[in-house]
Symmetry: C2
Subunit: 252 residues, 2 copies
Protein backbone atom coordinates (compact mmCIF):
# COMPACT_ATOMS: atom_id res chain seq x y z
CA UNK A 1 0.00 0.00 0.00
CA UNK A 2 1.64 3.18 -1.16
CA UNK A 3 0.20 6.33 0.29
CA UNK A 4 1.73 9.74 -0.23
CA UNK A 5 0.79 11.25 3.11
CA UNK A 6 2.22 8.96 5.71
CA UNK A 7 1.66 9.96 9.29
CA UNK A 8 4.85 10.27 11.34
CA UNK A 9 3.95 10.87 14.97
CA UNK A 10 7.37 12.31 15.82
CA UNK A 11 6.62 15.17 13.43
CA UNK A 12 3.29 16.04 15.04
CA UNK A 13 3.10 18.19 18.15
CA UNK A 14 1.45 16.76 21.27
CA UNK A 15 0.61 20.27 22.49
CA UNK A 16 -2.05 22.81 21.65
CA UNK A 17 -1.12 24.90 18.60
CA UNK A 18 0.78 28.11 19.34
CA UNK A 19 -1.36 31.07 20.25
CA UNK A 20 -4.36 29.05 21.47
CA UNK A 21 -5.55 30.24 24.86
CA UNK A 22 -6.94 27.87 27.45
CA UNK A 23 -9.79 30.08 28.67
CA UNK A 24 -11.10 31.04 25.23
CA UNK A 25 -10.83 27.49 23.99
CA UNK A 26 -12.76 26.18 26.98
CA UNK A 27 -15.57 28.62 26.23
CA UNK A 28 -15.70 27.40 22.67
CA UNK A 29 -15.59 23.78 23.79
CA UNK A 30 -18.58 24.38 26.06
CA UNK A 31 -20.62 25.52 23.06
CA UNK A 32 -19.43 22.59 20.96
CA UNK A 33 -20.32 20.08 23.66
CA UNK A 34 -23.82 21.54 23.87
CA UNK A 35 -24.14 21.49 20.09
CA UNK A 36 -23.05 17.84 20.07
CA UNK A 37 -25.89 17.07 22.47
CA UNK A 38 -28.35 18.69 20.04
CA UNK A 39 -26.93 16.76 17.11
CA UNK A 40 -27.25 13.53 19.06
CA UNK A 41 -30.93 14.25 19.63
CA UNK A 42 -31.37 14.80 15.91
CA UNK A 43 -29.49 11.57 15.13
CA UNK A 44 -31.73 9.71 17.56
CA UNK A 45 -34.95 11.25 16.27
CA UNK A 46 -34.13 10.67 12.62
CA UNK A 47 -32.67 7.17 13.14
CA UNK A 48 -31.20 6.96 9.65
CA UNK A 49 -27.53 7.29 10.53
CA UNK A 50 -25.26 5.89 13.19
CA UNK A 51 -21.96 7.10 14.61
CA UNK A 52 -18.89 5.23 15.78
CA UNK A 53 -16.24 7.05 17.80
CA UNK A 54 -12.97 5.19 18.33
CA UNK A 55 -10.57 6.46 21.01
CA UNK A 56 -7.09 5.01 20.98
CA UNK A 57 -3.97 6.16 22.78
CA UNK A 58 -1.20 5.15 25.15
CA UNK A 59 -1.93 4.73 28.86
CA UNK A 60 -2.51 8.12 30.47
CA UNK A 61 -3.48 9.79 27.20
CA UNK A 62 -6.88 10.71 28.63
CA UNK A 63 -9.37 8.46 26.86
CA UNK A 64 -11.73 8.28 29.85
CA UNK A 65 -11.49 12.01 30.46
CA UNK A 66 -12.30 12.73 26.83
CA UNK A 67 -15.48 10.62 27.07
CA UNK A 68 -16.70 12.46 30.17
CA UNK A 69 -16.00 15.91 28.79
CA UNK A 70 -16.99 15.66 25.15
CA UNK A 71 -20.23 13.68 25.54
CA UNK A 72 -21.36 15.55 28.66
CA UNK A 73 -24.47 16.93 26.97
CA UNK A 74 -25.41 13.69 25.23
CA UNK A 75 -28.16 11.48 26.63
CA UNK A 76 -27.23 7.97 27.63
CA UNK A 77 -30.32 6.61 25.88
CA UNK A 78 -28.62 7.34 22.57
CA UNK A 79 -25.10 6.31 23.56
CA UNK A 80 -23.28 3.05 24.07
CA UNK A 81 -19.81 2.98 25.56
CA UNK A 82 -17.61 -0.08 25.28
CA UNK A 83 -14.24 -0.27 27.03
CA UNK A 84 -12.36 -3.09 25.38
CA UNK A 85 -10.28 -5.03 27.87
CA UNK A 86 -8.53 -8.37 27.68
CA UNK A 87 -10.88 -10.67 25.77
CA UNK A 88 -13.00 -13.12 27.75
CA UNK A 89 -12.76 -16.85 27.14
CA UNK A 90 -15.82 -16.70 24.89
CA UNK A 91 -14.36 -13.78 22.94
CA UNK A 92 -11.04 -15.58 22.52
CA UNK A 93 -12.94 -18.50 21.00
CA UNK A 94 -14.04 -16.22 18.13
CA UNK A 95 -12.32 -14.06 15.52
CA UNK A 96 -11.00 -10.75 16.85
CA UNK A 97 -13.82 -8.67 15.30
CA UNK A 98 -16.64 -10.77 16.75
CA UNK A 99 -16.94 -8.79 19.98
CA UNK A 100 -16.54 -5.53 18.07
CA UNK A 101 -19.20 -6.11 15.43
CA UNK A 102 -21.70 -7.10 18.14
CA UNK A 103 -21.52 -3.62 19.67
CA UNK A 104 -21.53 -1.66 16.41
CA UNK A 105 -24.03 1.19 16.67
CA UNK A 106 -27.58 0.73 15.50
CA UNK A 107 -29.24 3.49 13.52
CA UNK A 108 -29.87 6.56 15.67
CA UNK A 109 -27.09 5.71 18.11
CA UNK A 110 -23.55 6.83 18.92
CA UNK A 111 -21.20 4.02 19.94
CA UNK A 112 -18.00 5.04 21.72
CA UNK A 113 -15.10 2.61 21.80
CA UNK A 114 -12.54 3.19 24.57
CA UNK A 115 -9.78 1.18 22.95
CA UNK A 116 -11.01 -0.95 20.08
CA UNK A 117 -10.33 -3.59 17.44
CA UNK A 118 -7.09 -1.74 16.75
CA UNK A 119 -5.58 -3.21 19.92
CA UNK A 120 -5.51 -6.50 18.02
CA UNK A 121 -2.85 -5.07 15.72
CA UNK A 122 -1.21 -2.93 18.44
CA UNK A 123 -0.63 -4.66 21.78
CA UNK A 124 -0.72 -8.06 20.09
CA UNK A 125 1.82 -7.01 17.49
CA UNK A 126 4.14 -5.16 19.84
CA UNK A 127 4.39 -8.23 22.06
CA UNK A 128 4.87 -10.56 19.12
CA UNK A 129 1.70 -12.55 19.88
CA UNK A 130 0.78 -12.44 16.19
CA UNK A 131 3.00 -12.56 13.13
CA UNK A 132 3.18 -9.95 10.39
CA UNK A 133 0.98 -11.95 8.05
CA UNK A 134 -1.78 -11.95 10.65
CA UNK A 135 -1.31 -8.20 11.11
CA UNK A 136 -1.93 -7.62 7.40
CA UNK A 137 -4.93 -9.97 7.33
CA UNK A 138 -6.42 -8.21 10.35
CA UNK A 139 -5.81 -4.78 8.87
CA UNK A 140 -7.75 -5.83 5.75
CA UNK A 141 -10.53 -7.27 7.88
CA UNK A 142 -10.74 -4.03 9.87
CA UNK A 143 -11.05 -1.98 6.70
CA UNK A 144 -13.70 -4.36 5.38
CA UNK A 145 -15.76 -4.11 8.59
CA UNK A 146 -15.53 -0.32 8.69
CA UNK A 147 -16.60 -0.15 5.04
CA UNK A 148 -19.51 -2.49 5.75
CA UNK A 149 -20.75 -0.33 8.62
CA UNK A 150 -20.48 2.75 6.42
CA UNK A 151 -22.27 1.51 3.29
CA UNK A 152 -24.81 -0.79 4.91
CA UNK A 153 -25.73 1.07 8.08
CA UNK A 154 -24.83 4.70 7.37
CA UNK A 155 -22.26 4.59 10.12
CA UNK A 156 -20.08 7.68 10.32
CA UNK A 157 -16.77 6.65 11.80
CA UNK A 158 -14.51 9.03 13.73
CA UNK A 159 -11.21 7.61 14.87
CA UNK A 160 -9.03 9.58 17.27
CA UNK A 161 -5.48 8.89 18.28
CA UNK A 162 -4.83 10.69 21.57
CA UNK A 163 -1.31 11.88 20.96
CA UNK A 164 0.65 12.24 24.22
CA UNK A 165 4.37 12.90 24.66
CA UNK A 166 6.47 10.38 26.51
CA UNK A 167 7.30 13.01 29.15
CA UNK A 168 3.64 13.88 29.71
CA UNK A 169 2.81 10.20 30.04
CA UNK A 170 5.38 9.84 32.79
CA UNK A 171 3.74 12.75 34.63
CA UNK A 172 0.30 11.15 34.27
CA UNK A 173 1.42 7.71 35.41
CA UNK A 174 3.27 9.20 38.39
CA UNK A 175 0.19 11.15 39.51
CA UNK A 176 -1.63 7.84 39.78
CA UNK A 177 0.97 6.69 42.33
CA UNK A 178 1.09 9.99 44.25
CA UNK A 179 -2.57 10.95 44.50
CA UNK A 180 -4.71 8.62 46.67
CA UNK A 181 -7.74 9.54 44.57
CA UNK A 182 -5.97 8.11 41.55
CA UNK A 183 -4.49 4.98 43.12
CA UNK A 184 -7.26 2.90 41.52
CA UNK A 185 -5.98 3.88 38.10
CA UNK A 186 -2.42 2.80 38.84
CA UNK A 187 -1.35 -0.38 37.08
CA UNK A 188 2.29 -1.46 37.33
CA UNK A 189 1.89 -3.03 33.90
CA UNK A 190 1.55 0.42 32.35
CA UNK A 191 5.22 1.11 33.08
CA UNK A 192 6.20 -2.06 31.28
CA UNK A 193 4.15 -1.09 28.24
CA UNK A 194 5.89 2.29 28.38
CA UNK A 195 9.21 0.52 27.74
CA UNK A 196 7.77 -0.53 24.38
CA UNK A 197 6.97 3.06 23.41
CA UNK A 198 8.82 3.11 20.09
CA UNK A 199 7.32 -0.17 18.99
CA UNK A 200 3.88 1.15 19.82
CA UNK A 201 4.48 4.30 17.78
CA UNK A 202 5.48 2.18 14.79
CA UNK A 203 2.44 -0.05 15.18
CA UNK A 204 0.16 2.99 15.40
CA UNK A 205 1.73 4.52 12.31
CA UNK A 206 1.12 1.28 10.42
CA UNK A 207 -2.55 1.42 11.42
CA UNK A 208 -2.87 5.06 10.35
CA UNK A 209 -1.15 4.47 7.02
CA UNK A 210 -3.23 1.43 6.16
CA UNK A 211 -6.68 2.47 7.34
CA UNK A 212 -9.24 3.29 4.70
CA UNK A 213 -11.14 5.54 7.14
CA UNK A 214 -8.65 8.26 8.10
CA UNK A 215 -7.50 8.95 11.66
CA UNK A 216 -7.57 12.21 13.55
CA UNK A 217 -4.35 12.78 15.46
CA UNK A 218 -5.38 14.71 18.57
CA UNK A 219 -2.71 16.47 20.68
CA UNK A 220 -3.51 15.76 24.33
CA UNK A 221 -0.71 17.17 26.48
CA UNK A 222 -3.04 20.14 27.02
CA UNK A 223 -6.26 18.45 28.08
CA UNK A 224 -8.36 21.52 27.28
CA UNK A 225 -7.21 21.32 23.68
CA UNK A 226 -7.99 17.59 23.52
CA UNK A 227 -11.61 18.22 24.42
CA UNK A 228 -11.91 21.04 21.94
CA UNK A 229 -10.32 19.01 19.14
CA UNK A 230 -12.60 16.01 19.56
CA UNK A 231 -15.79 18.02 20.05
CA UNK A 232 -15.00 20.24 17.06
CA UNK A 233 -14.24 17.27 14.79
CA UNK A 234 -17.47 15.51 15.76
CA UNK A 235 -19.68 18.59 15.45
CA UNK A 236 -18.23 19.52 12.05
CA UNK A 237 -18.58 15.96 10.84
CA UNK A 238 -22.17 15.54 12.02
CA UNK A 239 -23.27 18.94 10.72
CA UNK A 240 -22.24 17.81 7.26
CA UNK A 241 -24.57 14.81 7.18
CA UNK A 242 -27.63 17.02 6.78
CA UNK A 243 -29.87 15.25 9.28
CA UNK A 244 -33.52 16.32 9.46
CA UNK A 245 -36.22 15.94 12.07
CA UNK A 246 -38.85 13.54 10.71
CA UNK A 247 -42.30 14.97 9.87
CA UNK A 248 -45.31 14.09 11.99
CA UNK A 249 -46.27 10.45 11.36
CA UNK A 250 -49.53 10.11 9.45
CA UNK A 251 -52.42 8.37 11.10
CA UNK A 252 -53.44 4.86 10.13
CA UNK B 1 -14.03 -10.92 -11.62
CA UNK B 2 -13.14 -13.38 -14.34
CA UNK B 3 -13.41 -16.97 -13.36
CA UNK B 4 -12.98 -19.80 -15.80
CA UNK B 5 -15.39 -22.22 -14.18
CA UNK B 6 -18.66 -20.42 -13.95
CA UNK B 7 -21.48 -22.40 -12.45
CA UNK B 8 -24.54 -22.67 -14.69
CA UNK B 9 -27.34 -24.35 -12.77
CA UNK B 10 -29.22 -25.34 -15.92
CA UNK B 11 -26.27 -27.55 -16.88
CA UNK B 12 -26.20 -29.38 -13.55
CA UNK B 13 -28.53 -32.28 -12.85
CA UNK B 14 -30.91 -32.07 -9.90
CA UNK B 15 -31.04 -35.86 -9.67
CA UNK B 16 -28.76 -38.52 -8.28
CA UNK B 17 -26.02 -39.51 -10.75
CA UNK B 18 -26.92 -42.40 -13.03
CA UNK B 19 -26.32 -45.84 -11.58
CA UNK B 20 -26.55 -44.79 -7.94
CA UNK B 21 -28.90 -47.03 -6.00
CA UNK B 22 -31.06 -45.74 -3.19
CA UNK B 23 -30.62 -48.67 -0.81
CA UNK B 24 -26.82 -48.89 -1.12
CA UNK B 25 -26.46 -45.14 -0.84
CA UNK B 26 -28.57 -45.04 2.30
CA UNK B 27 -26.33 -47.66 3.89
CA UNK B 28 -23.31 -45.59 3.07
CA UNK B 29 -24.99 -42.44 4.37
CA UNK B 30 -25.72 -44.15 7.67
CA UNK B 31 -21.99 -44.78 8.13
CA UNK B 32 -21.12 -41.24 7.13
CA UNK B 33 -23.63 -39.73 9.56
CA UNK B 34 -22.13 -41.80 12.35
CA UNK B 35 -18.62 -40.79 11.34
CA UNK B 36 -19.70 -37.13 11.34
CA UNK B 37 -20.83 -37.55 14.94
CA UNK B 38 -17.38 -38.87 15.85
CA UNK B 39 -15.69 -36.00 14.06
CA UNK B 40 -17.86 -33.53 15.91
CA UNK B 41 -16.77 -35.03 19.22
CA UNK B 42 -13.15 -34.63 18.16
CA UNK B 43 -13.78 -31.03 17.07
CA UNK B 44 -15.38 -30.31 20.44
CA UNK B 45 -12.66 -32.00 22.44
CA UNK B 46 -9.82 -30.32 20.60
CA UNK B 47 -11.51 -26.88 20.41
CA UNK B 48 -9.01 -25.50 17.91
CA UNK B 49 -11.23 -25.38 14.85
CA UNK B 50 -14.79 -24.36 14.13
CA UNK B 51 -17.19 -25.29 11.35
CA UNK B 52 -19.82 -23.30 9.51
CA UNK B 53 -22.36 -25.10 7.36
CA UNK B 54 -24.50 -22.89 5.12
CA UNK B 55 -27.65 -24.38 3.57
CA UNK B 56 -29.29 -22.38 0.82
CA UNK B 57 -31.95 -23.38 -1.66
CA UNK B 58 -35.38 -22.58 -3.03
CA UNK B 59 -38.50 -23.33 -0.98
CA UNK B 60 -39.08 -27.04 -0.79
CA UNK B 61 -35.47 -27.94 -1.52
CA UNK B 62 -35.20 -29.78 1.79
CA UNK B 63 -33.01 -27.63 4.02
CA UNK B 64 -34.78 -28.68 7.22
CA UNK B 65 -34.75 -32.34 6.23
CA UNK B 66 -31.03 -32.19 5.47
CA UNK B 67 -30.35 -30.83 8.97
CA UNK B 68 -32.32 -33.63 10.64
CA UNK B 69 -30.74 -36.39 8.60
CA UNK B 70 -27.11 -35.35 8.29
CA UNK B 71 -26.51 -34.16 11.86
CA UNK B 72 -28.50 -36.95 13.47
CA UNK B 73 -25.48 -38.39 15.29
CA UNK B 74 -24.11 -35.02 16.39
CA UNK B 75 -24.66 -33.80 19.95
CA UNK B 76 -26.55 -30.57 20.42
CA UNK B 77 -23.96 -29.35 22.96
CA UNK B 78 -21.56 -28.85 20.06
CA UNK B 79 -24.06 -27.52 17.53
CA UNK B 80 -25.84 -24.25 16.96
CA UNK B 81 -28.59 -23.96 14.38
CA UNK B 82 -29.77 -20.60 13.14
CA UNK B 83 -32.74 -20.30 10.79
CA UNK B 84 -32.52 -16.83 9.27
CA UNK B 85 -35.96 -15.30 8.81
CA UNK B 86 -37.09 -11.78 8.06
CA UNK B 87 -34.81 -9.49 10.13
CA UNK B 88 -36.18 -8.11 13.39
CA UNK B 89 -36.40 -4.37 13.96
CA UNK B 90 -33.10 -4.45 15.87
CA UNK B 91 -31.43 -6.43 13.07
CA UNK B 92 -32.72 -4.01 10.44
CA UNK B 93 -31.10 -1.18 12.38
CA UNK B 94 -27.69 -2.76 11.75
CA UNK B 95 -25.66 -3.81 8.72
CA UNK B 96 -26.79 -7.06 7.12
CA UNK B 97 -23.89 -9.10 8.53
CA UNK B 98 -24.42 -8.01 12.14
CA UNK B 99 -26.85 -10.80 13.00
CA UNK B 100 -24.72 -13.31 11.10
CA UNK B 101 -21.38 -12.52 12.72
CA UNK B 102 -22.97 -12.75 16.19
CA UNK B 103 -23.80 -16.43 15.63
CA UNK B 104 -20.52 -17.42 13.95
CA UNK B 105 -19.24 -20.63 15.52
CA UNK B 106 -16.83 -20.51 18.41
CA UNK B 107 -13.89 -22.89 18.45
CA UNK B 108 -14.99 -26.48 18.95
CA UNK B 109 -18.48 -25.85 17.54
CA UNK B 110 -20.44 -26.49 14.36
CA UNK B 111 -22.81 -23.69 13.37
CA UNK B 112 -25.52 -24.56 10.86
CA UNK B 113 -27.21 -21.75 8.94
CA UNK B 114 -30.62 -22.58 7.46
CA UNK B 115 -30.65 -19.75 4.95
CA UNK B 116 -27.95 -17.18 5.62
CA UNK B 117 -26.34 -13.85 4.79
CA UNK B 118 -26.70 -14.86 1.14
CA UNK B 119 -30.41 -14.05 1.30
CA UNK B 120 -29.32 -10.41 1.44
CA UNK B 121 -28.07 -10.69 -2.13
CA UNK B 122 -30.80 -13.15 -3.21
CA UNK B 123 -34.33 -12.30 -2.10
CA UNK B 124 -33.39 -8.63 -1.70
CA UNK B 125 -31.91 -8.48 -5.17
CA UNK B 126 -34.64 -10.46 -6.93
CA UNK B 127 -37.28 -8.09 -5.54
CA UNK B 128 -35.23 -5.02 -6.38
CA UNK B 129 -34.99 -3.89 -2.73
CA UNK B 130 -31.28 -3.17 -3.23
CA UNK B 131 -29.45 -1.86 -6.27
CA UNK B 132 -26.60 -3.56 -8.10
CA UNK B 133 -23.98 -1.42 -6.42
CA UNK B 134 -25.19 -2.62 -3.05
CA UNK B 135 -25.12 -6.21 -4.29
CA UNK B 136 -21.44 -5.86 -5.20
CA UNK B 137 -20.59 -4.16 -1.90
CA UNK B 138 -22.37 -6.89 0.02
CA UNK B 139 -20.67 -9.64 -1.97
CA UNK B 140 -17.29 -8.15 -1.05
CA UNK B 141 -18.32 -7.85 2.59
CA UNK B 142 -19.46 -11.49 2.62
CA UNK B 143 -16.12 -12.64 1.23
CA UNK B 144 -14.29 -10.49 3.78
CA UNK B 145 -16.29 -11.96 6.68
CA UNK B 146 -15.80 -15.53 5.50
CA UNK B 147 -12.06 -14.90 5.12
CA UNK B 148 -11.93 -13.39 8.61
CA UNK B 149 -13.62 -16.44 10.14
CA UNK B 150 -11.20 -18.71 8.31
CA UNK B 151 -7.90 -17.00 9.14
CA UNK B 152 -8.73 -15.72 12.61
CA UNK B 153 -10.87 -18.50 14.06
CA UNK B 154 -9.95 -21.59 12.02
CA UNK B 155 -13.49 -21.76 10.71
CA UNK B 156 -13.98 -24.35 7.99
CA UNK B 157 -16.85 -23.20 5.82
CA UNK B 158 -19.07 -25.57 3.84
CA UNK B 159 -21.68 -23.93 1.65
CA UNK B 160 -24.36 -26.06 0.02
CA UNK B 161 -26.82 -25.04 -2.63
CA UNK B 162 -29.73 -27.50 -2.53
CA UNK B 163 -30.39 -27.85 -6.22
CA UNK B 164 -34.03 -28.72 -6.93
CA UNK B 165 -35.82 -28.80 -10.29
CA UNK B 166 -38.77 -26.53 -10.85
CA UNK B 167 -41.00 -29.58 -11.37
CA UNK B 168 -39.87 -31.20 -8.13
CA UNK B 169 -40.47 -27.96 -6.27
CA UNK B 170 -44.07 -27.92 -7.51
CA UNK B 171 -44.52 -31.45 -6.19
CA UNK B 172 -43.08 -30.45 -2.80
CA UNK B 173 -45.19 -27.31 -2.47
CA UNK B 174 -48.34 -29.21 -3.48
CA UNK B 175 -47.72 -31.89 -0.86
CA UNK B 176 -47.83 -29.16 1.75
CA UNK B 177 -51.39 -28.31 0.64
CA UNK B 178 -52.55 -31.91 0.32
CA UNK B 179 -51.12 -33.55 3.43
CA UNK B 180 -52.62 -32.30 6.73
CA UNK B 181 -49.36 -33.15 8.48
CA UNK B 182 -47.61 -30.65 6.20
CA UNK B 183 -50.19 -27.85 6.27
CA UNK B 184 -48.03 -25.96 8.76
CA UNK B 185 -45.28 -25.73 6.15
CA UNK B 186 -47.58 -24.26 3.51
CA UNK B 187 -46.99 -20.60 2.80
CA UNK B 188 -48.89 -18.98 -0.09
CA UNK B 189 -45.93 -16.63 -0.51
CA UNK B 190 -43.80 -19.56 -1.69
CA UNK B 191 -45.81 -19.75 -4.91
CA UNK B 192 -45.17 -16.08 -5.57
CA UNK B 193 -41.44 -16.55 -5.07
CA UNK B 194 -41.66 -19.49 -7.50
CA UNK B 195 -42.75 -17.05 -10.22
CA UNK B 196 -39.34 -15.40 -9.83
CA UNK B 197 -37.51 -18.70 -10.42
CA UNK B 198 -35.27 -17.52 -13.27
CA UNK B 199 -34.26 -14.38 -11.42
CA UNK B 200 -33.38 -16.47 -8.40
CA UNK B 201 -31.25 -18.79 -10.52
CA UNK B 202 -29.33 -15.80 -11.88
CA UNK B 203 -28.84 -14.33 -8.42
CA UNK B 204 -27.59 -17.67 -7.11
CA UNK B 205 -25.17 -18.01 -10.02
CA UNK B 206 -23.80 -14.54 -9.26
CA UNK B 207 -23.20 -15.60 -5.65
CA UNK B 208 -21.46 -18.82 -6.72
CA UNK B 209 -19.29 -17.06 -9.27
CA UNK B 210 -18.20 -14.33 -6.90
CA UNK B 211 -17.68 -16.24 -3.66
CA UNK B 212 -14.12 -16.77 -2.51
CA UNK B 213 -15.14 -19.88 -0.56
CA UNK B 214 -16.52 -22.28 -3.18
CA UNK B 215 -20.07 -23.67 -3.15
CA UNK B 216 -21.14 -27.28 -3.31
CA UNK B 217 -24.07 -27.77 -5.69
CA UNK B 218 -26.09 -30.59 -4.17
CA UNK B 219 -28.75 -32.37 -6.30
CA UNK B 220 -31.83 -32.82 -4.11
CA UNK B 221 -34.64 -34.23 -6.24
CA UNK B 222 -33.66 -37.60 -4.75
CA UNK B 223 -33.58 -36.86 -1.05
CA UNK B 224 -31.49 -39.94 -0.29
CA UNK B 225 -28.75 -38.57 -2.53
CA UNK B 226 -28.96 -35.12 -0.88
CA UNK B 227 -28.19 -36.62 2.51
CA UNK B 228 -25.32 -38.68 1.14
CA UNK B 229 -23.84 -35.71 -0.72
CA UNK B 230 -23.81 -33.38 2.29
CA UNK B 231 -22.60 -36.00 4.77
CA UNK B 232 -19.85 -37.15 2.41
CA UNK B 233 -18.66 -33.59 1.74
CA UNK B 234 -18.53 -32.77 5.46
CA UNK B 235 -16.80 -35.98 6.48
CA UNK B 236 -14.18 -35.70 3.73
CA UNK B 237 -13.58 -32.04 4.60
CA UNK B 238 -13.27 -32.63 8.34
CA UNK B 239 -11.05 -35.70 7.95
CA UNK B 240 -8.56 -33.51 6.10
CA UNK B 241 -8.08 -31.06 8.99
CA UNK B 242 -6.09 -33.58 10.98
CA UNK B 243 -7.73 -33.00 14.36
CA UNK B 244 -6.22 -34.71 17.39
CA UNK B 245 -7.55 -35.54 20.82
CA UNK B 246 -5.69 -33.41 23.36
CA UNK B 247 -3.28 -35.16 25.75
CA UNK B 248 -4.12 -35.44 29.45
CA UNK B 249 -3.80 -32.02 31.08
CA UNK B 250 -0.81 -31.76 33.39
CA UNK B 251 -1.39 -31.10 37.05
CA UNK B 252 -0.63 -27.72 38.57
Amino acid sequence: MNKVNRIRLADISTEAPKGWKEKDTEDETRDLVKRLGDLQQLLYAESKHSVLVVLQGMDGSGKDGAVHKVFDACRITGLTLTAFKKPTEEEFAHDFLWRVHKVAPQKGMIAIFNRSHYEDILIQRVHGWIDEKRVEQRMRAINALEELLAFDNNTHIFKFYLHISKAEQEKQLRQRMDDPEKYWKHNPGDWKERDLWDKYMQAYEYAFDNSTVPWHICPVDDRWYRDYFIAKTLVDGLEKIGMQLPPLAKEG
